[in-house]
Symmetry: C2
Subunit: 310 residues, 2 copies
Amino acid sequence: MSFKLTILGCSSAVPDLDKHPSSQLLNSNENLFLIDCGEGTQIRLRERNINFQRISHVLISHLHGDHFYGLIGLINSMHLLGRKKELHIFSHFELKNIINSQLQVASTILNYPLFFHEIPKDSEEVIFENDEIIIENILLDHRIHCSGFIFREKKYLRKIERENIIKHNIPDFYLNKIRSGDDYKSPTGEIIKNKQITKKARQANSYAYCSDTRFKKSISKKISGIDLLYHESTFNEKHKNLAKKTGHSTALQAANIANEAQVKCLLLGHFSKRYKDVNLLKIEAQKVFKNVILAENGMQLNFKEIIQNN
Amino acid sequence: MSFKLTILGCSSAVPDLDKHPSSQLLNSNENLFLIDCGEGTQIRLRERNINFQRISHVLISHLHGDHFYGLIGLINSMHLLGRKKELHIFSHFELKNIINSQLQVASTILNYPLFFHEIPKDSEEVIFENDEIIIENILLDHRIHCSGFIFREKKYLRKIERENIIKHNIPDFYLNKIRSGDDYKSPTGEIIKNKQITKKARQANSYAYCSDTRFKKSISKKISGIDLLYHESTFNEKHKNLAKKTGHSTALQAANIANEAQVKCLLLGHFSKRYKDVNLLKIEAQKVFKNVILAENGMQLNFKEIIQNN
């Protein structure tokens, strides 16, 4: 049982030798969600020995090149390497045509099912849900339609202590109720308290990905209490006007969102190449929010540790 | 004055850490022609410290991903880095829509002129010509429409020996005729032989790029006497049937074309990843054609040396 985030790229705009465009991989109990997919993402995955055939879902925040130019290559490589299992893409609707026209011109008929799911442009909804996780979109404020994502693990069930179940002679059909927190009432009327027969469940984790956006105060309400917030911080306060003009945020603005939302930890990224040392963005953010991490290529964040360190 | 080829990628199909998809850069007297543009090509250019803003023309052989998925990223980076001068793309016509739809969805209006030039699908023509070079397309035999390219430098003019021009009192308006090889007839009727007043011109070079194709005998006639022939050799003879099925050639087939065409040198590339040591492809080719080079990432070929070594 794990909830881990790997940073595959955290630079803005133009790729360079060691500046990779946006991409992250969220591993939720071995279900792999790829978040954004700049050019070269398939190489970043190989560098980290991540088998990209295991990715089941790809979420694209918006259709600026540094967030999706690597997707067609990844889709094509999955095909050429014999993928059979389905792949689900969540994006604004225009991406479907961009991908399909490139497959069509190459006469490529994928040997796996590819599903496109449209992210709404003017409402915030649950865009995906299974037994383990719920994903919602966040409306961001960029130059074109841009979506953030909130990933919330569902509440874990309490862990049954097998020996106490046997001891109290509790029938199997009752176990799901007990996992959900119910006490047990025996046929003789005896009450066995839930805590006597179960252990605490693992804490459900949550992650919010706020891709390219101007400072938008209302985000903080939406992501209140999240474990880890990724918020872009392309600029520092010195370039506040440029940030506003280009649809981006400063590190201080990102920290204000984190502080207001009382998240456990703030992850900064999407750095402008003008900053030789991005540590100045961390220092700026820490003026209003202490627990700040700077994204780095290849960084892996384990949510269990983030919460323990908080 | 130079004619040089740089290999940016020479692997087929799926990119890997050290296996880069097709891309080459032809430098003809500092005019840069990019030939094919697989994913990551802009990074390959940076690795070799080549300023990609200097590229004036891009030629895309066909619309399989390993030959063009890097183009949209390159076009976008040129824009973001402030390019003003025009860029010319030569490709089959469907590429224009693929590129434009990606620019449009990002609301990107390029700050430089981008021109698309359609490569014919059923005829062989001069597709580009300026004062220095002529480019023709070659109809190849692949799974989808695929074009090779022949680059021929125009014949260089003879070099005038200034001191002899003065000595014989030859007027300026006569010099272009002399550069073209004419003798000089003085007002008194004296004939000055061209060789007395000029030096030999640099030899004009030629390059043929035969991208993905089945063995096609007629190519050899088209490229007869070319200095350097790049011919794909995805497979060896053991996989001859697979080559035919997938629209590719073996190294031996490439060598047969080189031999028939009496080119000076054969460059092999587009290697299948199944061969751990591609030297076996060279050995196979050398059974019928001696002067074989295996393409390698970053390799630079100077045509002057190729011809001298022949």
